[in-house]
Each structure stands twice: as C-alpha cells, then as structure tokens.
Symmetry: D3
C-alpha cells in the first residue's frame, strides 16, 4: 500500500478517491462540526476527549452523525491502523473528524475521518525563536450568532483574521478578541500568558476549550503551577513575562512577539520550558525533539542555534 | 444523456461523479463564496449581476477564482445549455456558483457550477396562503466578524436559526435580527413590509443585497411605488399591512404571519399582487403560474382555492 | 369567613373589595416593586429574606413604603393568620407584597399584601416529566436601563418572552439571555444546570438572586455538592446532564427539554432528586408530595406513572 | 354632578369609585399599553391618531382590548361629554386610555379611560424661561428588550431617569440616550433641536413617535421649515440654536438649558415662536395663552415679564 | 527676524521660548480642544469655519477660551502676518489653535496659536502612487465616552491605531472603525470612497466633520457629482472604484490600497483627478503642484513618473 | 531656596521655569502616560510600585522614556530631596511622573517629575462627613479604544464626567460605569463598597489597578477581612453598608452618599475606621490626623464635630 486511506460514509477509500458530493451541505454551506486529534509515534492521543467534544458539538447543532461515539472511536482506530505504516521517521498524523449535514437528498450526515501528516516544518523553528501574535479588526464569533464552543466548519472569520495578521508577518498567528475587546484564542489554538509565575488563559465561556489546553491544566497541577482562567486584554500580553499557545499539533509552543513588540525577553522563557518538560513527564512524549527533526533551517533567525 | 452535468474545476462531469476532495477547504472550513441564480424557461436570469456580486465577494475575502468574470459567464452558459434538455415541463434550474479556497495542497481555488432543479412543490402553496416568519435568539453575523454582504459558504448561524424557527412551525422562514435588534433578512431571502403603500426593506449596510431585491426595486420604480430602505423592527412587522420575501427561486412570495400573528389581513395582499403582475410586465415571466403547476395540494390549507 | 382578605394601605379588606385607584402609578406606569413568598402548611417560609430583598428594591428605586420592615413583617403575619383557615387540604399560599408609587395626588406609596392560593395543578406534572425551556429573541433587561436585581413591577419584556416561547409549547418556560447572549433566568425563576456533578447557575450580577436559589445553595452545602455561579450559554444547556428551576412556588422543579431537545436523558435526573430530598432534610417539607396531590392527570404524558 | 367619571371595563363610574382589582396584571406586572390625548376647549384633539397608535401597541403585545377602535372612540367621546361640564375656565383634560392584561382569573383585558385636568401651573412658566434638560446614566429601553414604539405601562426606567435628573434641578426634564449614546426622547415627550434653521429630531426607529410630533411635522410643512429626522448626540444639543419638546399637554415648549449650560441664547428662541404661532394657524388653538392663565408666578425667574 | 513666533496666552513669542507650564492640564491630562487650519500662498484658508468649529468644541467641553471668536480670528491673522516672511518658496503653514484648561492654579484656559510649516515631503509622493489604508483592532471613541465631534487633544487611541497600522506599512494611514464596525475616519482626515460615480463618506454622527470635507462637498455640488453621507463598511472599500482622504494639509489625496489590496485599479483614479481640478476651479489653488515641488523622490515607487 | 524644583528632561529647574514646548505631543495630543505617588512625612510611599506601573503603561503604548526604571527611581529620590525642605508642617507632596511622546522634532520622549503639595483642605472634611458619589451618562474608556489599565494623559472623558457630576454637588466624585453598566472607578481613585463585612471592588480587567488599592488589599489580609474583586452595579452601592475610595492622596476616604441617597447610615462606618487604623498599623502613618490639621472648617456640615 502506498496511499493513505480515509473513511468516508462507511467506506475506507484511498485519499485520491476520497471525496464528497458537490451537493454536500458541508461544502455548500459550512454546515458541519469537526475535531482534529493527533498521534504520537502513531498512537492516537486522548481520542476519547476529542470524540466527546465532537458529540457535544453535534448535540449543539442538532446533527446526528449516524454513528455512536463508540463506533466513531473504533472506526478511527481502524483508520489509523491502516495508515500507520505510511508514516515516515518521526512523523505523525493529524486525525480529522468531519461530520456535516450531507447532501439534502441523502437525508443523512456525511462522516469523514482522515489522517493528514503534521507539517512540522511549518512551525518547528518557533520552538526556538517563538511565534508572533497579531490582533486584527476581525472579532471572534459571539455567542448570539453561534457559540464559539461549537467547533464548527463555518470558519470564514478565522481565515479573514489570518489574512489580515499576515500582512504584518507572513508567519504570524492571528489572535481574536471578543466584541468587547477581551482576548479569546488564536485561529486554531488556545492562547496563554505567564504573569508572575501564574498561567493565565481565557475562560471557557468565550473560547473553544481545547483538549491540549486541558492537558496543560493537568501538567500545571502536576507541577504545582497556579492557573487563572480569566478575561484579560492586550495590555496584559504587552506586559506578560511569557506567552504560548496550546494546540493539537504544536502542544506547547512559545510566542515571543505581540504586534511587533517583544513579550518579556522576546525569546522562549523558562515557564514554557517547564511545561514542555512536564509534558514529557506526564504524557511521555518529547514533542519538541520530534518537531526539531523536521526543522526548516531557512526559517531559523540568524544567530539562533538549533539544539539538535 | 440522462444525467445532469456540473462544472468542477475545468471539467463538465455527470453529477454522480461531481465531487470535491475531502481536503477542500470549502468542505473542511467553509472557506468559500457563492451565488445562486435561476433560469426562467431554461434561460438564465440576470446572470451578469450574480457574477458581479460573486466577484465582489471574492475580492472581499481575497480569493482568486482562477477564471475571469467573462470566463465564469461563458462556462455557466455552456453548463446550462448542456442541462437544459433535462428540464421537465414548467421546471427550471437554480444555477449555483461555488468558489472555495480548495485543498491547501492544490494551491488554487475550487470552482463548482451546478444546475439544481427548483423544488417548487416546497413553496408553491405559499403563493396562496403566505409564509410564516419567526424571529429567534440567533442573530445575524455582525460586520465586526465578517461582512454580511459577503455571500459566504460559512452559514452555521443560518441553519441554527432555521432549526429554532421550525420548532414553532416546520414550514417557517427564520428572520435574523442584528445584535441591536434591527430586522435584516431571512436565511436566504430579503424581507419586506408594506406600510401605507410604501415598500420598506432593510438598508444594504446590514444585509446581502439580493439580485431579486434589485429586480423589485426596478418594478417599484416602473409602477411608481415608493420604497424606503431603512432600519425597522419587529413592531413594524406586527403592524404592517403586508409582508413578502424576495429570493432567486420564489421571486416575490407573500408572508402572512409573524410569530404566530396575522400580518395585516393574514392573507396575501394587493401590493404583493401588484408586484407579481409588475414582474410579468417588466421581465416577462409569470413565476406564480409556473410554481402553482407544481403545487403540493396537501399543503394548501383547507378551504383555500388553488387558482389553476 | 368565606372570603380571603388582603391588606391595602392600612386596611384588611375582603379581596372582592381590595382594589387600587385607577390613578395609582403602579397601575398607570408600572412604578413599583414586589415580592412573592410562599407558605408551607400555612406557615410563611423565609419571610425575613423576602422582606429584606423588598427593602433593597425599595431603596434602589428610592421609594418609601411608609412601613418599616418590622411593620411589614407583622402585617404579613396577621394577614396570613386571617386567611389560613381558608386553605383547603394540601393547599398553600403565595404571599405577595406590592409597593407602588401610589396616585400622584396621594403623595405616598400604595402597599398591598395578598394571599393567593398556589395553582399546583399548573405545574405538578412537571415533577414527573420535567418542564420545557425555550429561548427567544427577547433579551433580559440590562443594568443600563434598570438593574435586574430590582424586583420591579414593570415586566413587559417577561410577558413578551413568555408569549414567544409558548408558540413552541404552550407550557414552555421562557429563558432570558443577556444582550451578550449569556443565560440569566426564567421569567419568574432562577435556572440551573448540572454538569459533571456540579450545580451551575448564573452569577448574581445579571439576575434577581432568588430566595429559593439561596435555599438550594444551603442544601448544596449541606449535601456537599459543588456549585459554580458563573456565566454560561445555550451550548452548556444543550450538553448539560440535568437542568432545573428554583422558584418560590415550585421550589426545585426539573427541566428536561431545551428548545425541543432532550437535556441529558430527557427526564428528571438524580441530582434533582437529591436536592428535593435535601430540601425535606433541611427545611422539613416535601413539596413534591404536596404538589402531586393536585396533579392534573390530563397533563401527564402517556406511559408516565404518577408516584402517588 | 360634582365629581368626574371614568370608564372602567364597561361602566362609567365616579372617580372615587373607579378602581382596579389588586390582581390586575397592569398593577401587579405593568402589563399594559396606554395613550394620553388632550382636549382643547373641551374638544378632543386628534383622537383618531391616538386610538390608532393604541391599537398598534395592543397588536405588538398581542393584547385584545375587547373593544373595537370605533367603540373605543365612541366611549371616549361619551366620557369627555360627561366630564366637560366640570372643566373650569381655561382648563382642559388629559384623556387617558389604559388597557392592561387584567386579572388572570378575569381572562380578559382591563380597559380604563379617564379625564385628568392638565396641571398647567406645573409648566406654564417654562413657556417664558424654558425648561432644563438633563442626561443621566439611565438608558432608553432597547428594542431587544421591547420596542420603544410600544407605549407600555412598564415605565420603571423613565422614573429612575427623572429621579436622577432632578438631583440637578427639581424641575428638570430627563433626556434618555440609547445604549449607543444617541438622543431619543424625554420621559414623556419628543425632543427637538433647531440647527441653522432646520428642525432636528430623533428618527422613529428608537422613539415613540408622538402624535404632537406629527402635528409639528405638519406645521413645519405648512411653514416651509426643513426637518431632519436623524440620530444626533449631546454635542449637537450643546451647540444647537434652540431646543424644544413636543408632548400632548405642552404642545411646543421651549427648552433653554442642557446639563446646566445655556442652549443658544439660553431663552426661548424665534423658531419656537414660529411653531407656536403656526400651531394656532393650523389647529386654531393658542395653547401658550391658555397655559399662561394658570402660571405659578413664584416659578417665574426674577426679572422675566409674564406677557399676560 | 529669523525665528517663527507663536501666540501663547496673550503674547507673541519666538517659538524657542513658546512653552507651557508643566502644570498645564493640557499637558498633564489632555484637557483641551484644537484646530488645524492651513495657508495657501501664506493666506489662511477658511479660518472662520475652523474658528467656528473650535468654539463648538469649547462649548461641548464647557471651556472658556477667554477670547471671543473675533479676537481669536484677529490674533490668528496677526500671527500669520508675523510669520509669513519666513515661508520658503512653495511652502505653507499649518495654523494650529490649542485651548486647554490651563494650570489649575491659573484658573483660566491656556491659548496657543502656532504656525508650523507643512511637511509636504512626507506625503507628496502619495499624489502619484496613492496612500495605503489599514484597519486595526483599535476602535473610534464612542459618543458614550466623548463625542467624536469634539476635536479633543486627548488622542491616545489615534496614536495606538497609527502604531498598529504602521506594522503593516510604515507609511500607512490608520482607519478607525466604530465599535459596531462602521467606517469612521483616518486618524486626522476624513475618508471617502467612490462607488459608481458617487462619493461616499461617513455621516457626521460618528466623525469629526472636517472643514476640508465641507470644501469637497462644495466642489461636488459645483461639479454635479452625487454624494452619499452614509454608514459603510470594509467590504465597500474592498470593492470601491477609488478612495481618497480629505484633510487640511493634503486637501484631496488618493488612497489606492486597503489592507494590502488594490482599491479599484490600485492607482489614483479619475474622480480624484476631477476633485483636484475642481478644487483649483472653486478655490483657486493647485495644491498638487505645490506639494510635488517638495517631493521626496526616494519615496516614489520605481517606474512611476513625477509629473513636474 | 524658596521655590520648588521640577525635573524636566534631564534638568532640575525651578518650577517657574519648568515648562514644555508648545510642540510637545503631550500638550498637543495627550500622548503620554503618568503616575502620581505621594510622600508621608516627606518620604516617598511605595515608589517602586508606581514606577513599575509607569513602565507597564510605557510598554503598552510603545513609548521609550529614555531612562531606565532605576534611573527614574534615583531621579525621583533626588527631586524629593531637593524639595523636602519646602514642605510646611504636616504637609506632603504628590510626586508626579509624566512621560510624553515629546515634540515630533525632538524624536524622544519628554520626562517630567514634579512635587506638588497635596491640597488637604480640599478633602479633609470628607473624613468626617464622607464624600458624595454621582454616576453620569459618561462611560469609562473601553478596552477596544484603549485599555483603562494604561494610565494615559488623555483624560477628556474624566473631566466631562466630573463636570456633569458636579452639577448635582460641586464637591461630588464622579463614578464611571462601563458601556455595559458595571461600576469601574472614580475619575482618579478606586471605588469600594462594604457588603456584609466583605470589601467589594471592581476587578482589574476594567480599571486602573491602584497602588493604594493594593495597599488596602494588604491591610485586609492583615486584618483578615474578606475581599471580592468582582463586577457590581449601582444597585449594590444603593444597598451597601459602607463605601469608600482609595487613592494616593486620600488613602482611604469614606463615601457616604450615592446620587443623593445615603449609603448605609449615611456617615463614615466602622469598616472604613478599621481600614484607616489598619493603615497606621501596617504602614505607620496616620493620614487622617494629618489631613484634619488642614481642614477647611467652612466645609464641615453644621453639627459635625471635628475630632482634632
């Protein structure tokens, strides 16, 4: 076998044939919900939590996947098993679940599960120099329109925010503020600052509560690091000691600039280091080492040493 | 030929094979814009205006379709030509244009054009008894998130509003209010009231300015009917003389109930009749006669006569 | 004595003669504040807390009742004493306090205290099948207009919300959201969800902090059940394990549907059961048993057993 | 006959016996709508317009008065006829219509019509020195809660605004701003400024469109005075040439101070004079002359001459 | 004389000695209002309008300048006379009026009038290639805080917006949106788009209504160009045919990019050309020719010809 | 030496010569940040905390003071040393730090440090009778415009709020509400209420977190007084047991009236007394005794005894 398979509505198909009808309401109207899990060494990480959240999203939009959570779990395991052999050295997968309303004529949801290699080269250098965060005029979706806790496939505003942020820096991460100006999250990651030894992150009311965010809460408890889940603003980022993002693929990735200014010392700080080490202790993977094996050296700023 | 064709990225394909990759960002993330035009007697109606609006949406989301507006026009004409023969008596097509970001690997947009028979039986009876409008807690997308003038394929909130409205009446049309409580539009149609002989509809700042809305503005000018494009509220609907919707498929369709209450006399009124006649005068089609040929008689309230 | 008496401005009058001038500013302009307490077995429950809250409302609207809190208390006790004999078996009273600005010419407040039999038949079946909660486009009064903590007799929006909710289900309870989309309260009750064994209810900033809500906080402490007073949204209700309301008459009443969807299992859950039992332990009344004696059997869904 | 009569639910009663049950939901919950018309020389002014607006309010809150508009009109005429003889020299009536939900047990609305002598002495001196307008922190009811076009008896916020304004000046008129800071109306009157010869007043979307406001629009047309119905702000009042209010009892009354500052010259200006004269031309009454006959001379600032 | 003079509180001083106390509340707290007028060929342009607006600002903040408008006018003329000789060839002045609360101990306002040479080299090249407009997360001051029509010296947000915009392009002009997402103005200029031959600019409710904006309204009337003063959004800029700014120093300057995208053809368009010519016709100055004499050739994009 | 000196851009100058250029952008545009520290017995109180906050403000507006925090500290100490001898008996200084953008031509910030005698006579009587708090229509700056945690010299809205509050009472303190109606702070002080033995104050998200506020948090911890940092509203002030302000000059000053109503008993309460005593215990100064030595006896209400 030389091609990855994907699960589409009951079938395991080679990706080149894995498609959905042009009449799928996921395609036509963004009517769907999704999850993105990852593997470590080919093993799926916290799949249960991702599937539980998928079913919360489904319930909130009144969509019936046609599979139970257990069936979704088993199908996922089977798909990863089929594709595991295609992973190169130090590679891993995003495992994506997409459930859409399907074509109106079908009268049932479309379910897609896919394995997509994580593009470590896109961000590995950020473990060394940190990422750049930009706020734009585009605001987070307010709960009066739909709840940001629904992981919806209608993501137009996130793309618009990325486009706008990348006018400043093509590698920037866009940070979304609420209509009221509070910090929420990056376009596909939770955002944290470190302030006087405390981790600070937005409360679950206005964000998608990430599974990786939950993992870091566990690590913080393990390491006895205090955490505040509270509203905060741009001022707090400008004056933070450190900042970082948590997301499925990057786990804990340092962010060292905000709107062109250095955060703290302007380089990855000790708290991020502690959390990265804590991750290895608690979950047994060293995601930084893995990512650095894929580093794109052209993206490392001059003068920065690559530790591996 | 016994199957309709669709245009997908340069090819005319039978619909059963017309599909998009599961990696298409239109499917995964709702990153796309679209239009829905209709035919009358198999001839496309005001295609230029729809294509112009499509290109305004594209510009606003910085997406390059890979085709010029002229090419899009020619391709559309060709597709309709291919499918025209499959139209039954008194049938017509929706002609849908969908342009999405495509799969990330493709590095170019996905362009789909499709011909979908209009389901007249779903709404033909509303020309006789009028439709029912329901307001819900779901609000229109505010411009701080993305501009409602972009005809985006990210439409989660519209679906949520429809679900909520249909708790009251399975045939209800959901009306979206702004965060400030002003009337905007139905989930896929512009909304109008008639007040003391004047047509009143929301201003273009907070709505998708419909092509059919434009057609009615032309008819109003032709018939010397005054029009106000202004913010109005639920109170004004409760106290309106008549109400109606304008949309590609239904053209001008009367709305006779708002949140369970009769609007005006609770039946299609004289102004709607004038506009429907005016349509025939100005554009040469009698859309009501056509739709009634497909009427689902089970949906006509008892005691109502079907004029045909 | 065969007719209940009410207290009106210093006099105890038979209810058929208990009236206020048409010039009363409570009648003309909704300028008043109120409380509704209940009796258990003819004994007034937590009267002090209701009167304390009444005087907080009076202070916030700068209205002088003309009676001290102590006099208000004594008068209430006397009124209930006068009416107690008219209670039927297993019946109890709402004890209502209404203080309005009075007629402008009077130059002093109108004070009314009344005993109204609780209509258990209207809701007793909800202890068995649970109530249905509906959110509508009508929003809670924001503090910029007047503070929702004032228990004002200006209640137009609550009536409008009930009318709208009852389009879906004539027995529905309307749930009010803030302008920002946060859950506040039902039209005359506090609203709670149960999430992973924790009771969750809106914070006192945006709601009228109910006396019964306080009673449940006491019970939760007694039973060691964790409580979060925090903002939450519709998503959280859709995904809650259970939900219930607290209000003077119903005490703790299960809510099993939200906008047409089942909450949790769609039937009264174990946490509601614990709280109802806890109420009996802490306060000595079994309000469910009492209410079920008045049940309207026509309202019990088929197949549900009535435990008494 | 020495006592005025009022109409209450089908009966004409002496006012001392005109009352409503303490169970009336108008009294308990502010669930009602109303109108206030006035007489000139004992003749009712523009009763049709007031009754039409009353029925629009009724429709918006889904309340059935139990009387047709025609019956309401006739009953009003009869009541005024009964009371006309009790008017003193140069006196006139407010004619109030109040329709509430009534007591729940009654199952029908309460209808009250009353004749209340206009207290000219409270405001007559303002025709000479002008009134004082104060803005406070209390905001107008937003349409998301209920529409300000409904003339509701739930008026708590208006009272709170008056109390706050009268901390500055016991005779002040409170001006309500929207949540967004736009000028709406006084607590029972429309508000206007004069700017470069143009009358400016808030648009009907955010205010109760007054019948007297309509009368002034007529006069302006008669006198060829340009009018702008547009949003404006406090800045515009601070820099206006003149300001005035329109309301049933006062018709056109000059306002000469805003938040302690003079408006224009700080005294009634020429445009107000033109409108007052225009009123006499168009409607045949000289309301200023009438009011000044009742002037409370203690309220006239020293040095101001009373013209009569 | 080799040094410019400035007017400070009654004295004409050489600029090197023109200073204000560190206790001036203008310096300590931004408590002041201002105007910036310009000269053409050393003659002051529309000074009366600037001084009238200055006095409107003063009135709105209740500040007494201690000089009448006439005295302010005469003093200004005198100052310009003193400084006119120091103008180089083709140079002109900004004439700034600043009135602050002064030091608390002084008990009277500080009045400063100054002549500052216009830095044509900073923007002259924009007449050739057009300026770049950027929207940021910083919003315009809302009228609930203070009215944007007050030309206040408290300008922190405008500076923050400029800093943020200049992350994208060091020469960018920052465009402020309202809290609701409507376009207002640039940090020191009004903003316009051209749409189908019509000039569109924000309504005076949410902006400082510029004197130059007024001049362009006059020109448009002279040239019979239609104008809409209406709310519009970013979508409208993305899809505009042209855009430009109006401001004291630059008069009418083309804007050719919005958030990195070309506006229209991406170069100064014909409408801007008409308005610039119209300016010369109506007001007799050719401001483009003047500015181009100072052009910084390093700032002209390669391949662009400089017309002079 | 008979005149105080101030530090201005590197020099210590007599105050009569301490000035800034009229071109300073602090003066022209309010582009600066500041701090106000005080001395006790001529010793600077918590200078480090004030300087740390100054540098957080500087960072948030991207302004480089040109001095390190250490240099700022030393310079301040030197300035106070120079001026200490000029303090009269029982007098003390405000020590103000002002850093502005400076004149554009200078290309560097202006730094001013000044010593201003505290005007104890302005407020000493409030320790006896308490101050009066007024809410107005002017709202606090929202974070979308700039963050209220930046201690900016752009303070126009604070002045407007004071002017409006002082229409009610010339000695009133203006209390700012957020756009949402939550209590924030006074124009130059934090605001607290006492409720059932707990101190309640606004959370740091919407206010400038005062250094004196921090001092009171320390005292509360020392005295074991519970504290809630939470949003609260006007209702809570109307019903509070006590209220007080904390600010550099007044430390802990009782507030006894809100919008004309007594707070609690309407006189300084026991909690304020405890905190004032606690201050002496923790920090060693008796600020009340000091202030009363400067009392303006004409401001003490009749019948109130002055304890010293």
């Amino acid at each position: 076998m030389s091609e990855r398979t994907a699960y589409v509505n009951g079938e395991f198909l080679p990706e080149s044939r894995a498609s959905v009808s042009i009449y799928d309401r996921g395609f036509l109207s963004g009517l769907g919900v999704f999850e993105r899990t990852r593997t470590f060494g080919g093993e799926i990480f916290q799949l249960d939590r991702h599937i539980a959240r998928l079913y919360r999203s489904l319930k909130a939009v009144r969509l019936d996947a046609g599979l139970t959570a257990e069936e979704m779990h088993e199908t996922t395991v089977e798909l990863v098993k089929q594709n595991k052999g295609l992973l190169g050295a130090d590679e891993d997968y995003f495992v994506g679940h997409y459930v859409t309303r399907g074509p109106d004529k079908a009268g049932r949801a479309t379910v897609v599960i896919l394995c997509e290699p994580i593009g470590f080269d896109k961000f590995a250098h950020h473990y060394i120099c940190g990422g750049h965060v930009i706020t734009t005029h585009i605001r987070a979706i307010p709960t009066q329109v739909w709840d940001p806790k629904i992981k919806s496939t209608s993501r137009m505003h996130l793309w618009l925010a990325e486009q706008q942020a990348q006018l400043v820096d093509p590698e920037a991460y866009a940070l979304l503020l609420t209509l009221d100006g509070n910090v929420t999250e990056l376009t596909a990651a939770n955002f944290w600052i470190v302030r006087n030894g405390t981790l600070v992150t937005a409360p679950v009311q206005t964000i998608l509560s990430g599974v990786t965010r939950g993992a870091v809460l566990e690590i913080a408890q393990h390491l006895d690091i205090p955490v505040e889940e509270t509203n905060f603003q741009l001022y707090d980022i400008m004056n933070a000691d450190e900042a970082f993002m948590t997301t499925t693929s990057r786990c804990v990735l340092p962010l060292t600039r905000i709107n062109g200014n250095a955060i703290g010392e302007g380089k990855p700080g000790p708290m991020v280091g502690r959390l990265q080490k804590g991750w290895t202790e608690v979950f047994g993977q060293d995601f930084v080492v893995q990512a650095l094996k894929h580093i794109d050296k052209d993206k490392v700023p001059e003068g920065e040493a690559v530790p591996l």
